[in-house]
Symmetry: C2
Subunit: 108 residues, 2 copies
């Protein structure tokens, strides 16, 4: 059985958390986000990220503004809305609780 698949499953659950964390730290556009995730060894591709960002925007977690680029097409820079801040905090709390119970469950 391929362990890569299971790793993938675990990763899935935290993509949203990590994306929001990156945006919270710095207003970002998608390529930024992909690069930061990659640096953190959480590989995510465009086909994953764009629909996610759109979903979060449609649910008022994120907002964006267009920013001209010095070289190339304009970019959508995303930031958290106040509602998004609350949502992110809840997500982070859930993550911390999950790690606690899983670590406990897998002890010994």
């Amino acid at each position: 059985m391929n362990i890569e698949n299971a790793k993938q499953q675990m990763k899935k659950g935290v993509i949203e958390l990590c994306v929001l964390s990156i945006i919270k730290n710095n207003e970002s556009y998608p390529s930024d986000i992909i690069n930061e995730l990659q640096a953190a060894k959480i590989i995510v591709v465009e086909g994953t990220l764009y629909p996610l960002l759109t979903r979060l925007k449609n649910n008022s977690i994120l907002s964006y503004r267009w920013v001209e680029s010095e070289s190339g097409p304009p970019r959508k820079y995303y930031s958290l809305t106040p509602e998004g801040e609350t949502y992110f905090n809840g997500l982070l709390e859930a993550w911390q609780e999950l790690t606690k119970v899983v670590n406990k469950a897998t002890k010994q």
Copy 2:
């Protein structure tokens, strides 16, 4: 946006790890497993667990033996195969690495 949904997503990734951990500690049958997960606040229902166990069995991660019950139908008691032990260790390692990178990514 409903945070329960996001929690659910995070949980998904660790169900397999937790199920294997429970079985590793004690040869178990499905109701055992559901109860232990529930105690750890990782709620899982039959419709999730049975297909998961079957999948793991088909991939030689788990094996089972029928055990007569004192009151009711016989039970399938599951245990890890040697291959399953290896797989579990890999999964646990992946989990520990994931928590590390996510904690780093969400710091500050």
